[in-house]
Protein backbone atom coordinates (compact mmCIF):
# COMPACT_ATOMS: atom_id res chain seq x y z
CA UNK A 1 0.00 0.00 0.00
CA UNK A 2 1.44 3.36 -0.95
CA UNK A 3 2.39 5.44 1.99
CA UNK A 4 3.21 9.08 2.38
CA UNK A 5 4.06 10.92 -0.76
CA UNK A 6 5.53 14.41 -0.69
CA UNK A 7 3.71 16.90 -2.85
CA UNK A 8 6.76 17.74 -4.91
CA UNK A 9 8.89 15.46 -6.95
CA UNK A 10 12.40 16.45 -6.26
CA UNK A 11 12.12 15.31 -2.66
CA UNK A 12 13.08 11.69 -2.23
CA UNK A 13 10.59 8.93 -1.69
CA UNK A 14 9.45 8.05 1.82
CA UNK A 15 8.85 4.67 3.42
CA UNK A 16 5.55 2.96 2.67
CA UNK A 17 3.20 3.34 5.59
CA UNK A 18 2.00 -0.26 5.59
CA UNK A 19 5.27 -1.57 6.88
CA UNK A 20 5.89 1.05 9.51
CA UNK A 21 5.75 -1.43 12.35
CA UNK A 22 9.02 -3.14 13.00
CA UNK A 23 11.08 -0.56 11.17
CA UNK A 24 13.46 1.46 13.29
CA UNK A 25 14.99 4.39 11.41
CA UNK A 26 18.72 4.71 11.41
CA UNK A 27 20.02 6.87 14.19
CA UNK A 28 19.84 10.60 13.63
CA UNK A 29 22.20 12.85 15.48
CA UNK A 30 19.72 15.18 17.12
CA UNK A 31 16.02 15.46 16.55
CA UNK A 32 14.32 18.82 16.52
CA UNK A 33 11.40 19.88 14.37
CA UNK A 34 13.32 22.83 12.93
CA UNK A 35 16.29 20.70 11.97
CA UNK A 36 14.05 18.03 10.46
CA UNK A 37 12.25 20.63 8.39
CA UNK A 38 15.54 22.07 7.16
CA UNK A 39 16.78 18.63 6.19
CA UNK A 40 13.63 17.92 4.23
CA UNK A 41 13.82 21.31 2.57
CA UNK A 42 17.34 20.61 1.44
CA UNK A 43 16.21 17.52 -0.43
CA UNK A 44 14.01 19.60 -2.66
CA UNK A 45 16.48 20.51 -5.38
CA UNK A 46 14.37 23.06 -7.19
CA UNK A 47 13.55 24.81 -3.95
CA UNK A 48 17.20 25.04 -3.01
CA UNK A 49 18.13 26.40 -6.42
CA UNK A 50 15.25 28.86 -6.22
CA UNK A 51 16.38 30.07 -2.82
CA UNK A 52 19.74 30.94 -4.28
CA UNK A 53 18.27 32.70 -7.29
CA UNK A 54 15.76 34.62 -5.22
CA UNK A 55 18.52 35.59 -2.84
CA UNK A 56 20.47 36.96 -5.79
CA UNK A 57 17.46 38.92 -6.98
CA UNK A 58 16.91 40.44 -3.55
CA UNK A 59 20.57 41.37 -3.23
CA UNK A 60 20.48 42.79 -6.72
CA UNK A 61 17.54 45.10 -6.10
CA UNK A 62 18.84 46.16 -2.72
CA UNK A 63 22.45 46.81 -3.64
CA UNK A 64 22.20 47.05 -7.38
CA UNK A 65 21.28 50.71 -7.63
CA UNK A 66 24.28 51.49 -5.44
CA UNK A 67 26.64 49.69 -7.78
CA UNK A 68 25.08 50.31 -11.16
CA UNK A 69 24.83 54.03 -10.92
CA UNK A 70 23.13 54.81 -14.19
CA UNK A 71 20.16 57.01 -13.34
CA UNK A 72 16.73 55.59 -13.96
CA UNK A 73 15.34 58.60 -15.69
CA UNK A 74 18.17 59.83 -17.80
CA UNK A 75 16.50 60.53 -21.08
CA UNK A 76 18.58 60.00 -24.18
CA UNK A 77 16.65 59.97 -27.43
CA UNK A 78 19.69 59.08 -29.39
CA UNK A 79 19.78 55.58 -28.00
CA UNK A 80 16.11 54.90 -27.57
CA UNK A 81 14.85 51.32 -27.95
CA UNK A 82 18.32 49.93 -28.26
CA UNK A 83 18.93 46.27 -27.58
CA UNK A 84 21.36 45.03 -24.95
CA UNK A 85 24.83 46.55 -25.13
CA UNK A 86 27.75 47.15 -22.82
CA UNK A 87 26.47 50.57 -21.85
CA UNK A 88 22.98 49.27 -21.26
CA UNK A 89 23.07 45.54 -20.46
CA UNK A 90 19.30 45.20 -20.75
CA UNK A 91 18.81 47.81 -23.43
CA UNK A 92 16.91 51.07 -23.33
CA UNK A 93 13.27 52.07 -23.47
CA UNK A 94 11.51 54.54 -25.70
CA UNK A 95 12.98 57.49 -23.84
CA UNK A 96 16.46 56.07 -23.90
CA UNK A 97 16.36 55.27 -20.22
CA UNK A 98 18.43 52.33 -19.02
CA UNK A 99 16.21 49.34 -18.44
CA UNK A 100 18.54 47.57 -16.03
CA UNK A 101 18.64 50.57 -13.71
CA UNK A 102 14.88 50.91 -13.87
CA UNK A 103 14.27 47.25 -13.17
CA UNK A 104 16.68 47.25 -10.24
CA UNK A 105 15.04 50.28 -8.72
CA UNK A 106 11.50 49.20 -9.43
CA UNK A 107 12.28 45.76 -8.14
CA UNK A 108 12.64 47.13 -4.65
CA UNK A 109 9.08 48.35 -4.76
CA UNK A 110 7.64 45.28 -6.44
CA UNK A 111 9.28 42.96 -3.93
CA UNK A 112 8.52 45.25 -1.00
CA UNK A 113 4.85 45.33 -1.93
CA UNK A 114 4.81 41.56 -2.11
CA UNK A 115 6.46 41.11 1.22
CA UNK A 116 4.48 43.75 3.10
CA UNK A 117 1.17 42.57 1.71
CA UNK A 118 2.05 39.11 2.95
CA UNK A 119 2.78 40.56 6.39
CA UNK A 120 -0.58 42.31 6.47
CA UNK A 121 -2.35 39.11 5.48
CA UNK A 122 -0.37 37.08 8.02
CA UNK A 123 -0.92 39.46 10.92
CA UNK A 124 -4.62 39.91 10.29
CA UNK A 125 -5.05 36.23 9.57
CA UNK A 126 -3.29 35.05 12.71
CA UNK A 127 -5.24 37.47 14.87
CA UNK A 128 -8.61 36.63 13.42
CA UNK A 129 -7.87 32.92 13.40
CA UNK A 130 -6.63 32.98 16.99
CA UNK A 131 -9.66 34.88 18.22
CA UNK A 132 -12.03 32.65 16.32
CA UNK A 133 -10.36 29.48 17.51
CA UNK A 134 -10.12 30.53 21.13
CA UNK A 135 -13.55 32.01 21.56
CA UNK A 136 -15.74 29.50 19.72
CA UNK A 137 -19.48 29.99 19.70
CA UNK A 138 -20.99 33.03 18.09
CA UNK A 139 -17.79 35.06 17.74
CA UNK A 140 -16.20 32.19 15.90
CA UNK A 141 -19.22 31.75 13.66
CA UNK A 142 -19.37 35.46 12.91
CA UNK A 143 -15.68 35.69 12.06
CA UNK A 144 -15.87 32.66 9.81
CA UNK A 145 -18.88 34.07 8.03
CA UNK A 146 -16.90 37.25 7.49
CA UNK A 147 -14.01 35.24 6.11
CA UNK A 148 -16.33 33.44 3.71
CA UNK A 149 -17.72 36.77 2.62
CA UNK A 150 -14.28 38.15 1.93
CA UNK A 151 -13.41 35.01 0.01
CA UNK A 152 -16.35 35.74 -2.25
CA UNK A 153 -15.12 39.20 -3.11
CA UNK A 154 -13.69 39.41 -6.60
CA UNK A 155 -10.12 40.43 -5.91
CA UNK A 156 -8.93 42.24 -8.97
CA UNK A 157 -12.14 44.20 -9.59
CA UNK A 158 -12.19 45.27 -5.98
CA UNK A 159 -8.53 46.22 -6.10
CA UNK A 160 -9.20 48.27 -9.19
CA UNK A 161 -12.22 49.87 -7.62
CA UNK A 162 -10.43 50.92 -4.47
CA UNK A 163 -7.47 52.11 -6.44
CA UNK A 164 -9.75 54.19 -8.59
CA UNK A 165 -11.60 55.70 -5.67
CA UNK A 166 -8.88 56.37 -3.16
CA UNK A 167 -5.68 57.06 -5.01
CA UNK A 168 -6.08 60.77 -5.25
CA UNK A 169 -6.79 61.42 -1.60
CA UNK A 170 -4.15 59.01 -0.39
CA UNK A 171 -1.62 60.67 -2.60
CA UNK A 172 -2.44 63.96 -0.96
CA UNK A 173 -1.98 62.56 2.54
CA UNK A 174 1.02 60.32 2.14
CA UNK A 175 2.69 61.51 -1.01
CA UNK A 176 2.61 59.66 -4.33
CA UNK A 177 4.77 56.69 -3.44
CA UNK A 178 3.69 56.29 0.14
CA UNK A 179 0.00 56.67 -0.52
CA UNK A 180 -0.24 54.19 -3.30
CA UNK A 181 2.10 51.80 -1.52
CA UNK A 182 -0.02 51.75 1.59
CA UNK A 183 -3.21 51.39 -0.38
CA UNK A 184 -1.97 48.51 -2.51
CA UNK A 185 -0.40 46.69 0.42
CA UNK A 186 -3.48 47.04 2.62
CA UNK A 187 -5.91 45.99 -0.09
CA UNK A 188 -3.92 43.01 -1.36
CA UNK A 189 -3.13 41.88 2.15
CA UNK A 190 -6.69 42.55 3.24
CA UNK A 191 -8.01 40.18 0.61
CA UNK A 192 -5.69 37.33 1.53
CA UNK A 193 -5.94 36.98 5.29
CA UNK A 194 -8.77 34.48 5.12
CA UNK A 195 -6.75 31.38 4.31
CA UNK A 196 -4.26 32.14 7.08
CA UNK A 197 -7.09 32.69 9.54
CA UNK A 198 -8.62 29.34 8.60
CA UNK A 199 -5.30 27.53 9.09
CA UNK A 200 -4.65 29.08 12.49
CA UNK A 201 -8.19 28.42 13.63
CA UNK A 202 -7.99 24.79 12.55
CA UNK A 203 -4.77 24.33 14.48
CA UNK A 204 -6.25 25.87 17.59
CA UNK A 205 -9.36 23.77 17.40
CA UNK A 206 -7.44 20.55 17.03
CA UNK A 207 -5.12 21.31 19.93
CA UNK A 208 -7.96 22.57 22.07
CA UNK A 209 -9.66 19.24 21.85
CA UNK A 210 -6.54 17.47 22.97
CA UNK A 211 -5.17 19.70 25.65
CA UNK A 212 -8.43 20.89 26.96
CA UNK A 213 -8.84 18.11 29.45
CA UNK A 214 -5.32 18.48 30.77
CA UNK A 215 -5.54 22.23 30.77
CA UNK A 216 -8.71 22.05 32.79
CA UNK A 217 -6.96 19.95 35.35
CA UNK A 218 -3.92 22.16 35.47
CA UNK A 219 -3.76 25.67 36.85
CA UNK A 220 -6.62 27.74 35.55
CA UNK A 221 -5.18 30.91 34.11
CA UNK A 222 -1.91 29.63 32.77
CA UNK A 223 -3.67 27.02 30.67
CA UNK A 224 -4.50 29.75 28.20
CA UNK A 225 -0.88 30.68 27.83
CA UNK A 226 0.12 27.03 27.59
CA UNK A 227 -2.32 26.45 24.79
CA UNK A 228 -1.10 29.50 22.91
CA UNK A 229 2.51 28.44 23.37
CA UNK A 230 1.76 25.00 21.99
CA UNK A 231 -0.41 26.08 19.15
CA UNK A 232 1.55 28.82 17.51
CA UNK A 233 4.69 26.77 16.84
CA UNK A 234 2.58 24.04 15.29
CA UNK A 235 0.60 26.46 13.19
CA UNK A 236 3.78 28.18 12.06
CA UNK A 237 4.50 25.67 9.33
CA UNK A 238 1.33 26.00 7.29
CA UNK A 239 1.26 29.76 7.90
CA UNK A 240 4.74 30.13 6.48
CA UNK A 241 3.79 28.10 3.42
CA UNK A 242 0.68 30.23 2.97
CA UNK A 243 2.89 33.25 3.40
CA UNK A 244 5.09 32.38 0.44
CA UNK A 245 2.04 31.87 -1.73
CA UNK A 246 0.82 35.27 -0.57
CA UNK A 247 4.07 36.96 -1.58
CA UNK A 248 3.87 35.51 -5.06
CA UNK A 249 0.20 36.42 -5.39
CA UNK A 250 0.84 39.96 -4.13
CA UNK A 251 3.65 40.51 -6.62
CA UNK A 252 1.38 39.37 -9.42
CA UNK A 253 -1.46 41.54 -8.15
CA UNK A 254 0.69 44.66 -8.01
CA UNK A 255 2.17 43.95 -11.42
CA UNK A 256 -1.28 43.42 -12.85
CA UNK A 257 -2.48 46.68 -11.41
CA UNK A 258 0.53 48.51 -12.81
CA UNK A 259 0.19 46.75 -16.12
CA UNK A 260 -3.35 48.02 -16.44
CA UNK A 261 -2.04 51.51 -15.85
CA UNK A 262 -3.81 51.82 -12.54
CA UNK A 263 -1.03 51.17 -10.08
CA UNK A 264 1.85 53.33 -9.06
CA UNK A 265 2.36 56.68 -10.81
CA UNK A 266 4.00 56.50 -14.24
CA UNK A 267 7.39 57.69 -13.15
CA UNK A 268 7.87 54.83 -10.70
CA UNK A 269 9.27 51.89 -12.66
CA UNK A 270 7.72 48.92 -10.90
CA UNK A 271 8.10 45.84 -13.05
CA UNK A 272 4.44 45.85 -14.05
CA UNK A 273 4.65 49.50 -15.03
CA UNK A 274 7.73 48.94 -17.18
CA UNK A 275 5.87 46.15 -18.94
CA UNK A 276 2.92 48.48 -19.43
CA UNK A 277 5.20 50.97 -21.12
CA UNK A 278 6.80 48.23 -23.16
CA UNK A 279 3.69 46.60 -24.48
CA UNK A 280 3.10 48.96 -27.36
CA UNK A 281 6.48 48.46 -28.97
CA UNK A 282 6.93 44.72 -28.67
CA UNK A 283 7.37 44.45 -32.40
CA UNK A 284 10.40 46.67 -32.59
CA UNK A 285 11.76 46.41 -29.05
CA UNK A 286 10.93 42.98 -27.65
CA UNK A 287 13.82 43.09 -25.20
CA UNK A 288 12.06 45.74 -23.15
CA UNK A 289 8.99 43.58 -22.51
CA UNK A 290 10.95 40.39 -22.24
CA UNK A 291 13.26 41.62 -19.50
CA UNK A 292 10.60 43.29 -17.42
CA UNK A 293 8.12 40.43 -17.76
CA UNK A 294 10.92 37.99 -17.21
CA UNK A 295 11.84 39.66 -13.94
CA UNK A 296 8.31 39.20 -12.61
CA UNK A 297 8.24 35.63 -13.86
CA UNK A 298 11.56 34.73 -12.28
CA UNK A 299 10.68 36.22 -8.92
CA UNK A 300 7.29 34.50 -8.80
CA UNK A 301 8.66 31.18 -10.04
CA UNK A 302 11.41 31.03 -7.44
CA UNK A 303 9.01 31.99 -4.68
CA UNK A 304 6.61 29.27 -5.78
CA UNK A 305 9.32 26.62 -5.78
CA UNK A 306 10.49 27.73 -2.36
CA UNK A 307 6.92 27.52 -1.13
CA UNK A 308 6.72 23.98 -2.46
CA UNK A 309 9.92 23.06 -0.69
CA UNK A 310 8.65 24.58 2.54
CA UNK A 311 5.44 22.63 2.23
CA UNK A 312 7.39 19.42 2.00
CA UNK A 313 9.68 20.50 4.79
CA UNK A 314 6.93 21.15 7.28
CA UNK A 315 4.50 18.42 6.47
CA UNK A 316 5.69 15.76 4.05
CA UNK A 317 2.62 13.66 4.48
CA UNK A 318 0.08 16.14 3.29
CA UNK A 319 -0.09 16.29 -0.48
CA UNK A 320 -1.26 19.88 -0.82
Amino acid sequence: MAGSTPASLTAERPAPAGIAAGVTPRKKARFSPGLEAWRRFRRHKLAMASSIILGLIVVAVLLGPLIWRVPINEIDFASKLDGPSWAHPLGTDDLGQDILARLLYGGRISLAVGFCAMLVAAVVGVMVGAIAGMSRGSIDAALMWLADLFLSLPQLPLLLLISYLFRDSLTKILGTQGGIFVMIVVVIGGLRWMQVARLVRAQILSIREKEFIEAARALGASSFRQVVRHILPNALGPVIVAGTIDVAAAIIAESTLSFLGLGFPPDIPTWGRVLFDAKDTIDIAPHWALFSGGAIFLAVLTINFIGDGLRDAFDPRRVL
Binding site: T5, P154, P157, D168, S255, L275, D283, G293
Partner: protein, 320 residues
Protein backbone atom coordinates in the same frame (compact mmCIF):
# COMPACT_ATOMS: atom_id res chain seq x y z
CA UNK B 1 -29.66 14.58 -4.38
CA UNK B 2 -32.11 16.11 -2.03
CA UNK B 3 -33.86 19.29 -2.98
CA UNK B 4 -33.40 20.48 0.57
CA UNK B 5 -29.69 20.62 -0.02
CA UNK B 6 -30.01 22.89 -3.04
CA UNK B 7 -32.46 25.14 -1.25
CA UNK B 8 -30.17 25.36 1.73
CA UNK B 9 -27.27 26.41 -0.45
CA UNK B 10 -29.42 29.01 -2.20
CA UNK B 11 -30.42 30.46 1.14
CA UNK B 12 -26.78 30.80 2.05
CA UNK B 13 -25.98 32.53 -1.22
CA UNK B 14 -28.40 35.38 -0.71
CA UNK B 15 -26.85 36.82 2.43
CA UNK B 16 -23.46 36.54 0.73
CA UNK B 17 -24.71 38.62 -2.16
CA UNK B 18 -26.16 41.18 0.20
CA UNK B 19 -22.97 41.26 2.19
CA UNK B 20 -20.89 41.86 -0.91
CA UNK B 21 -23.20 44.59 -2.10
CA UNK B 22 -22.93 46.29 1.27
CA UNK B 23 -19.17 46.17 1.14
CA UNK B 24 -19.11 47.56 -2.39
CA UNK B 25 -21.47 50.31 -1.48
CA UNK B 26 -19.53 51.19 1.64
CA UNK B 27 -16.36 51.44 -0.38
CA UNK B 28 -18.08 53.83 -2.70
CA UNK B 29 -19.63 55.82 0.11
CA UNK B 30 -16.34 56.11 1.94
CA UNK B 31 -14.58 57.40 -1.11
CA UNK B 32 -13.64 61.00 -0.64
CA UNK B 33 -14.75 63.49 -3.13
CA UNK B 34 -17.80 63.27 -5.21
CA UNK B 35 -17.56 60.62 -7.87
CA UNK B 36 -20.56 62.16 -9.39
CA UNK B 37 -18.92 65.53 -9.82
CA UNK B 38 -18.34 64.28 -13.29
CA UNK B 39 -22.03 64.52 -13.80
CA UNK B 40 -22.07 68.22 -13.28
CA UNK B 41 -18.89 68.81 -15.22
CA UNK B 42 -19.60 66.61 -18.19
CA UNK B 43 -21.54 68.48 -20.86
CA UNK B 44 -22.46 65.27 -22.63
CA UNK B 45 -24.90 64.37 -19.90
CA UNK B 46 -28.35 65.83 -20.36
CA UNK B 47 -29.34 67.82 -17.28
CA UNK B 48 -32.50 65.81 -16.64
CA UNK B 49 -30.45 62.65 -16.46
CA UNK B 50 -27.97 64.29 -14.15
CA UNK B 51 -30.73 65.45 -11.87
CA UNK B 52 -32.41 62.07 -11.77
CA UNK B 53 -29.08 60.42 -11.06
CA UNK B 54 -28.47 62.64 -8.10
CA UNK B 55 -31.98 61.97 -6.88
CA UNK B 56 -31.68 58.25 -7.36
CA UNK B 57 -28.40 58.02 -5.59
CA UNK B 58 -29.85 60.34 -2.97
CA UNK B 59 -26.50 61.91 -2.45
CA UNK B 60 -27.74 63.96 0.42
CA UNK B 61 -29.48 61.12 2.23
CA UNK B 62 -27.92 59.08 5.04
CA UNK B 63 -25.77 56.19 3.93
CA UNK B 64 -28.12 53.36 4.68
CA UNK B 65 -30.93 55.01 2.78
CA UNK B 66 -28.71 55.50 -0.21
CA UNK B 67 -27.75 51.85 0.00
CA UNK B 68 -31.35 50.73 0.02
CA UNK B 69 -32.17 52.98 -2.92
CA UNK B 70 -29.24 51.65 -4.83
CA UNK B 71 -30.06 48.06 -3.97
CA UNK B 72 -33.65 48.36 -5.06
CA UNK B 73 -32.57 50.12 -8.23
CA UNK B 74 -30.18 47.27 -8.97
CA UNK B 75 -32.83 44.70 -8.24
CA UNK B 76 -35.21 46.41 -10.61
CA UNK B 77 -32.72 46.34 -13.41
CA UNK B 78 -32.25 50.07 -13.33
CA UNK B 79 -28.52 50.22 -13.37
CA UNK B 80 -28.03 53.76 -14.42
CA UNK B 81 -26.66 55.54 -17.37
CA UNK B 82 -23.14 55.40 -18.63
CA UNK B 83 -21.41 58.74 -19.05
CA UNK B 84 -18.92 57.54 -21.55
CA UNK B 85 -21.08 55.41 -23.80
CA UNK B 86 -24.30 57.32 -23.44
CA UNK B 87 -26.49 54.26 -23.14
CA UNK B 88 -28.03 52.47 -20.21
CA UNK B 89 -25.57 50.55 -18.18
CA UNK B 90 -27.56 47.36 -18.25
CA UNK B 91 -27.71 47.39 -22.03
CA UNK B 92 -24.00 47.98 -22.15
CA UNK B 93 -23.25 45.12 -19.82
CA UNK B 94 -25.59 42.75 -21.57
CA UNK B 95 -23.88 43.56 -24.84
CA UNK B 96 -20.48 42.65 -23.54
CA UNK B 97 -21.11 39.97 -20.96
CA UNK B 98 -21.60 37.11 -23.46
CA UNK B 99 -18.17 37.66 -25.00
CA UNK B 100 -16.50 37.43 -21.61
CA UNK B 101 -18.46 34.35 -20.65
CA UNK B 102 -17.61 32.61 -23.91
CA UNK B 103 -13.91 33.32 -23.61
CA UNK B 104 -13.84 32.25 -19.97
CA UNK B 105 -15.90 29.17 -20.70
CA UNK B 106 -13.68 28.10 -23.56
CA UNK B 107 -10.58 28.71 -21.47
CA UNK B 108 -11.86 26.62 -18.58
CA UNK B 109 -12.80 23.86 -20.97
CA UNK B 110 -9.33 23.90 -22.46
CA UNK B 111 -7.82 23.88 -18.99
CA UNK B 112 -9.88 20.87 -17.91
CA UNK B 113 -9.26 18.92 -21.12
CA UNK B 114 -5.52 19.33 -20.74
CA UNK B 115 -5.14 19.21 -16.98
CA UNK B 116 -7.33 16.24 -16.14
CA UNK B 117 -5.48 13.53 -18.08
CA UNK B 118 -2.08 15.04 -17.35
CA UNK B 119 -2.82 15.32 -13.65
CA UNK B 120 -4.20 11.79 -13.44
CA UNK B 121 -1.23 10.34 -15.29
CA UNK B 122 1.18 12.29 -13.10
CA UNK B 123 -0.62 11.23 -9.95
CA UNK B 124 -0.69 7.56 -10.86
CA UNK B 125 2.98 7.57 -11.77
CA UNK B 126 4.54 9.81 -9.14
CA UNK B 127 8.22 10.64 -9.51
CA UNK B 128 8.32 9.30 -13.03
CA UNK B 129 9.89 11.39 -15.77
CA UNK B 130 6.43 12.35 -16.98
CA UNK B 131 5.47 13.50 -13.52
CA UNK B 132 8.58 15.60 -13.10
CA UNK B 133 8.19 17.31 -16.44
CA UNK B 134 4.47 17.88 -15.94
CA UNK B 135 5.04 19.34 -12.50
CA UNK B 136 7.79 21.68 -13.60
CA UNK B 137 5.75 22.86 -16.58
CA UNK B 138 2.82 23.44 -14.27
CA UNK B 139 4.91 25.60 -11.99
CA UNK B 140 6.14 27.61 -14.92
CA UNK B 141 2.57 27.89 -16.15
CA UNK B 142 1.12 29.49 -13.09
CA UNK B 143 4.17 31.61 -12.37
CA UNK B 144 3.83 33.34 -15.71
CA UNK B 145 1.49 36.27 -15.24
CA UNK B 146 -1.31 36.28 -17.81
CA UNK B 147 -0.30 39.61 -19.23
CA UNK B 148 3.20 38.40 -19.90
CA UNK B 149 2.00 35.21 -21.56
CA UNK B 150 -0.35 37.25 -23.69
CA UNK B 151 2.44 39.49 -24.86
CA UNK B 152 4.69 36.52 -25.54
CA UNK B 153 2.02 34.84 -27.63
CA UNK B 154 1.45 38.02 -29.57
CA UNK B 155 5.16 38.33 -30.17
CA UNK B 156 5.29 34.82 -31.49
CA UNK B 157 2.07 34.29 -33.37
CA UNK B 158 1.14 37.75 -34.52
CA UNK B 159 4.41 39.49 -35.08
CA UNK B 160 6.91 36.85 -35.91
CA UNK B 161 4.72 34.29 -37.60
CA UNK B 162 1.78 36.45 -38.55
CA UNK B 163 -0.64 33.59 -38.16
CA UNK B 164 -3.11 35.16 -35.78
CA UNK B 165 -4.55 38.65 -35.52
CA UNK B 166 -3.37 40.76 -32.64
CA UNK B 167 -6.58 42.60 -32.03
CA UNK B 168 -10.02 41.16 -31.59
CA UNK B 169 -12.48 42.51 -34.06
CA UNK B 170 -16.04 42.47 -32.77
CA UNK B 171 -17.48 43.27 -36.15
CA UNK B 172 -16.06 40.70 -38.47
CA UNK B 173 -17.03 41.40 -42.04
CA UNK B 174 -16.80 37.80 -43.22
CA UNK B 175 -19.72 35.40 -43.26
CA UNK B 176 -20.40 31.71 -42.95
CA UNK B 177 -17.44 29.39 -42.55
CA UNK B 178 -14.94 32.19 -43.04
CA UNK B 179 -16.57 34.04 -40.22
CA UNK B 180 -16.23 31.00 -37.99
CA UNK B 181 -12.62 30.52 -38.96
CA UNK B 182 -11.84 34.18 -38.37
CA UNK B 183 -13.61 34.02 -35.04
CA UNK B 184 -11.56 31.02 -34.01
CA UNK B 185 -8.33 32.63 -35.15
CA UNK B 186 -8.86 35.73 -33.10
CA UNK B 187 -10.10 33.89 -30.05
CA UNK B 188 -7.35 31.29 -29.81
CA UNK B 189 -4.78 33.46 -28.09
CA UNK B 190 -6.93 34.94 -25.34
CA UNK B 191 -8.43 31.52 -24.67
CA UNK B 192 -5.01 29.92 -24.60
CA UNK B 193 -3.57 32.51 -22.24
CA UNK B 194 -6.37 32.06 -19.74
CA UNK B 195 -6.69 28.34 -20.27
CA UNK B 196 -3.03 27.51 -19.83
CA UNK B 197 -2.76 29.57 -16.67
CA UNK B 198 -5.75 27.82 -15.18
CA UNK B 199 -4.65 24.47 -16.53
CA UNK B 200 -1.27 24.77 -14.82
CA UNK B 201 -2.68 25.10 -11.34
CA UNK B 202 -5.36 22.54 -12.15
CA UNK B 203 -2.72 19.96 -13.05
CA UNK B 204 -1.25 20.26 -9.58
CA UNK B 205 -4.62 20.03 -7.89
CA UNK B 206 -5.64 16.98 -9.88
CA UNK B 207 -2.28 15.36 -9.22
CA UNK B 208 -2.45 15.84 -5.49
CA UNK B 209 -6.09 14.79 -5.34
CA UNK B 210 -5.17 11.61 -7.19
CA UNK B 211 -2.19 11.02 -4.89
CA UNK B 212 -4.48 11.43 -1.89
CA UNK B 213 -7.06 9.00 -3.20
CA UNK B 214 -4.80 6.32 -4.65
CA UNK B 215 -3.51 5.20 -1.27
CA UNK B 216 -6.94 4.85 0.31
CA UNK B 217 -8.28 1.46 1.34
CA UNK B 218 -11.17 1.31 -1.07
CA UNK B 219 -8.82 1.56 -4.02
CA UNK B 220 -7.04 -1.58 -2.83
CA UNK B 221 -10.47 -3.16 -2.53
CA UNK B 222 -11.26 -2.14 -6.08
CA UNK B 223 -8.01 -3.68 -7.29
CA UNK B 224 -8.75 -6.88 -5.43
CA UNK B 225 -11.94 -7.26 -7.43
CA UNK B 226 -9.98 -7.94 -10.57
CA UNK B 227 -11.62 -5.27 -12.73
CA UNK B 228 -8.39 -4.15 -14.33
CA UNK B 229 -6.07 -1.29 -13.42
CA UNK B 230 -7.50 1.06 -16.03
CA UNK B 231 -11.00 0.68 -14.64
CA UNK B 232 -9.69 1.11 -11.12
CA UNK B 233 -8.20 4.43 -12.15
CA UNK B 234 -11.06 5.77 -14.22
CA UNK B 235 -14.00 4.49 -12.21
CA UNK B 236 -12.67 4.66 -8.70
CA UNK B 237 -9.67 6.96 -8.43
CA UNK B 238 -10.74 9.70 -10.80
CA UNK B 239 -14.37 9.66 -9.72
CA UNK B 240 -13.49 10.30 -6.08
CA UNK B 241 -10.56 12.59 -6.82
CA UNK B 242 -12.89 14.73 -8.91
CA UNK B 243 -14.84 15.80 -5.87
CA UNK B 244 -12.32 18.24 -4.44
CA UNK B 245 -11.14 19.20 -7.92
CA UNK B 246 -14.57 20.18 -9.20
CA UNK B 247 -15.28 22.37 -6.23
CA UNK B 248 -11.90 23.94 -6.65
CA UNK B 249 -12.54 24.73 -10.30
CA UNK B 250 -15.77 26.46 -9.37
CA UNK B 251 -14.14 28.34 -6.52
CA UNK B 252 -11.33 29.47 -8.78
CA UNK B 253 -13.69 31.29 -11.09
CA UNK B 254 -13.06 34.66 -9.41
CA UNK B 255 -9.40 34.32 -10.33
CA UNK B 256 -10.31 33.46 -13.88
CA UNK B 257 -12.34 36.65 -14.11
CA UNK B 258 -9.35 38.66 -12.99
CA UNK B 259 -7.33 36.97 -15.66
CA UNK B 260 -10.08 37.79 -18.13
CA UNK B 261 -9.85 41.48 -17.31
CA UNK B 262 -6.17 41.49 -18.21
CA UNK B 263 -6.58 39.31 -21.26
CA UNK B 264 -9.35 41.44 -22.62
CA UNK B 265 -7.14 44.48 -22.24
CA UNK B 266 -4.24 42.98 -24.11
CA UNK B 267 -6.22 41.55 -26.96
CA UNK B 268 -8.88 44.28 -26.94
CA UNK B 269 -11.67 41.75 -26.54
CA UNK B 270 -14.90 43.68 -25.96
CA UNK B 271 -16.02 41.99 -22.76
CA UNK B 272 -16.93 43.37 -19.36
CA UNK B 273 -13.32 43.18 -18.22
CA UNK B 274 -12.11 45.72 -20.70
CA UNK B 275 -15.31 47.65 -20.01
CA UNK B 276 -14.27 48.01 -16.40
CA UNK B 277 -10.85 49.31 -17.32
CA UNK B 278 -12.07 51.80 -19.87
CA UNK B 279 -14.75 52.96 -17.44
CA UNK B 280 -12.07 53.60 -14.85
CA UNK B 281 -9.96 55.52 -17.25
CA UNK B 282 -13.01 57.59 -18.18
CA UNK B 283 -14.26 58.05 -14.62
CA UNK B 284 -17.57 56.45 -15.60
CA UNK B 285 -18.77 55.62 -12.10
CA UNK B 286 -22.15 53.93 -12.72
CA UNK B 287 -20.50 51.48 -15.07
CA UNK B 288 -17.74 50.77 -12.60
CA UNK B 289 -20.20 50.08 -9.82
CA UNK B 290 -22.38 47.89 -11.96
CA UNK B 291 -19.56 45.84 -13.45
CA UNK B 292 -17.99 45.25 -10.05
CA UNK B 293 -21.35 44.13 -8.80
CA UNK B 294 -21.74 41.79 -11.75
CA UNK B 295 -18.37 40.25 -10.93
CA UNK B 296 -19.46 39.78 -7.35
CA UNK B 297 -22.68 38.11 -8.49
CA UNK B 298 -20.75 35.77 -10.75
CA UNK B 299 -18.53 34.78 -7.83
CA UNK B 300 -21.49 34.00 -5.61
CA UNK B 301 -23.13 32.14 -8.46
CA UNK B 302 -20.12 29.94 -9.00
CA UNK B 303 -19.76 29.30 -5.28
CA UNK B 304 -23.30 28.03 -5.41
CA UNK B 305 -22.52 25.83 -8.39
CA UNK B 306 -19.50 24.48 -6.50
CA UNK B 307 -21.67 23.58 -3.52
CA UNK B 308 -24.30 21.92 -5.66
CA UNK B 309 -21.75 19.97 -7.66
CA UNK B 310 -20.05 18.84 -4.48
CA UNK B 311 -23.33 17.59 -3.10
CA UNK B 312 -24.08 15.82 -6.36
CA UNK B 313 -20.71 14.09 -6.53
CA UNK B 314 -20.37 13.12 -2.89
CA UNK B 315 -23.43 11.31 -1.57
CA UNK B 316 -22.16 11.64 1.98
CA UNK B 317 -22.88 15.35 1.91
CA UNK B 318 -26.34 15.56 0.51
CA UNK B 319 -27.95 12.49 1.97
CA UNK B 320 -28.31 14.06 5.34
Amino acid sequence: MSRQYIIRRLLVAIPSLLGISIILFCVLALAPGDPFSEIAANPAIPPEVAASLRAKFGLDDPVWLRYLHWLSAMAHGDWGFSFASRINVDTLILQRLPTTLIVIGAAQLLAIIVALPVGVLAGTRPYSVFDQIANTLAFIGFSLPTFFTGLLLIMLFSIKLDWLPMVYNAELSSTGWTWLWDQVKQSIMPVMVLGLFQGASLVRYVRSAVLDVVRLDYITTARSKGIGERRVITRHVVRTALIPVVTLVALQMPIVFSGAIVTEQIFRVPGIGSLLISAMLANDTPVIMAVTFVFACLVVFFNLIADVLYGWLDPRISYR
